[in-house]
């Protein structure tokens, strides 16, 4: 059976992370599973979890008043879900719903924040892995906003 540590070590997000830091991170980790249609978190709820997606697919949704929910992004195998646990006021900005059976490792956000506070090198390691993802997400969002497939007049 694979240990949490080996699963995390094989996840792209933690690739080549030093063993000592991997051990620290694993101390905040546990396995989770979400059935299709199950909400993982809701907008404005406290963000105290950081999900490492092992397999499956999760939709990030916004629900405008009186309208159907709109999916703005999906994340799946090998990706991560959420960084609100790192940024005050630690509240989720979107609903997250499993589109299909999803297996993930959840890291306790508070635990991780404390460890990053105690060891800034670990904090730097995690941030330098998160920032490119945040940057790519922002770039993707801009492209979506451009509506490039719409009729250009």
């Amino acid at each position: 059976m694979k240990t949490l540590e080996s699963i995390l070590a094989n996840h792209p997000f933690f690739a080549n992370l030093k063993a000592e830091y991997l051990a620290l991170v694993t101390g905040c980790a546990s396995n989770v599973r979400f059935e299709a249609g199950q909400f993982i978190h809701r907008q404005d709820e406290e963000a105290d979890s950081f999900y490492i997606i092992r397999e499956g697919k999760v939709a990030l949704e916004i629900c405008p008043p009186g309208k159907k929910a709109i999916t703005v992004q999906t994340v799946s195998d090998g990706e991560i879900l959420g960084w609100a646990w790192l940024v005050p006021p630690y509240h989720w900005q979107f609903d997250a719903q499993a589109v299909e059976l999803t297996r993930a490792i959840v890291l306790d956000g508070k635990c991780l924040r404390n460890k990053c506070g105690e060891d800034h090198t670990l904090g730097y390691e995690l941030l330098s892995r998160l920032l490119p993802i945040i940057g790519q997400t922002m770039e993707a969002t801009r492209l979506q906003l451009l509506d490039i497939y719409g009729v250009q007049r």
Binding site: K57, A69, T74, D77, A140, L143, Q144, I148
Partner: protein, 283 residues
């Protein structure tokens, strides 16, 4: 890659009369016309990636990429989005009605050059249309290529083209087909996000990969950048460019793009050949 012009003796400026053999509704604003020469039975030759000038009589002429048919079948299919006066007139054509056609014109996708390599096809919106003949050509000689990947992004699920063919491409030919949309509601079970994000979800050998990209220019810029980040060399990236195509044979100069004319040197270009001009606003 070299452009294949009309047969010798045919004035490329004079449209030939074609008949609509079949009208195919693709999405709410996109349709395909399968056309055959009026009264003619000769087979029509084109290279994947080439385009024709379609003339709606009395209205005007527009450049339209050839999107089919499957190898070994007659006719030429053009997939058209109803966005202007001429395309609207073409939209109203019915089976048996006629239109003018000049072509085929332009360069083609590097089908032969890609043999022995993985092929990544990235399409955005109606950009899948000119890539479909390339996919047909690759699949016709499936064993000559390594991984074949199709990454396709559209605005929303209703805009996906050729959806009935995805399962065949996946199941029969082992194509890695990944679709994504910019936004969707909960009925959609697939990916949501820009097409570039799909690259991480497929397997191919970047150094031994040819990428063929077609879509809005902004999308192609980001696609090129992402493929380069994964290690695909610039000389193995191919893009298509769109400008104001008028004569289609390099006479009028409307489609000049730096030192090239898109109508006769393109519309398919190897990326490193057009890179210096790719991001210049004024071009």
């Amino acid at each position: 890659m070299a452009g294949q012009m009309q047969p010798p003796g045919v004035n490329p400026m004079i449209p030939q009369t074609y008949r609509v053999n079949k009208f195919i509704r693709e999405t709410h604003d996109t349709f395909s016309l399968d056309v055959v020469p009026k009264g003619g039975t000769e087979p029509m030759f084109f290279q994947p990636g080439q385009f024709n000038m379609l003339y709606a009589f009395g209205v005007g002429e527009v450049p339209i990429s050839i999107s089919g048919p499957k190898p070994g079948t007659q006719g030429m299919i053009h997939t058209i989005r109803d966005v202007g006066v001429v395309t609207r007139a073409l939209h109203h054509l019915k089976k048996g009605q006629t239109l003018g056609l000049r072509g085929p014109f332009g360069s083609s996708w590097p089908i032969e050059e890609s043999k022995g390599q993985d092929v990544v096809i990235m399409a955005g919106g109606i950009g899948l249309a000119p890539l479909r003949p390339a996919l047909y050509a690759l699949l016709e000689q499936r064993d000559q290529y390594g991984e074949i990947v199709l990454l396709y992004g559209v605005r929303n699920p209703e805009d996906l083209l050729f959806t009935k063919e995805f399962e065949t491409w996946r199941g029969k030919y082992g194509v890695q087909v990944k679709l994504t949309v910019d936004t969707a509601d909960r009925e959609w079970r697939g990916n949501v996000g820009v097409v570039n994000t799909l690259i991480q979800r497929v397997t191919f050998d970047p150094l031994n990969t040819v990428a063929m990209i077609c879509g809005p220019e902004v999308m192609m810029r980001f696609a090129v950048s992402e493929l380069k980040r994964y290690g695909v060399p610039e000389q193995q990236l191919y893009v298509t460019l769109e400008r104001n195509l008028k004569c289609a044979v390099g006479f009028c100069g409307h489609c000049q793009f730096g030192p090239a004319f898109i109508c006769k040197d393109g519309a398919v270009f190897r990326y490193d050949k057009v890179k210096p001009f790719f991001g210049i606003r004024e071009i």
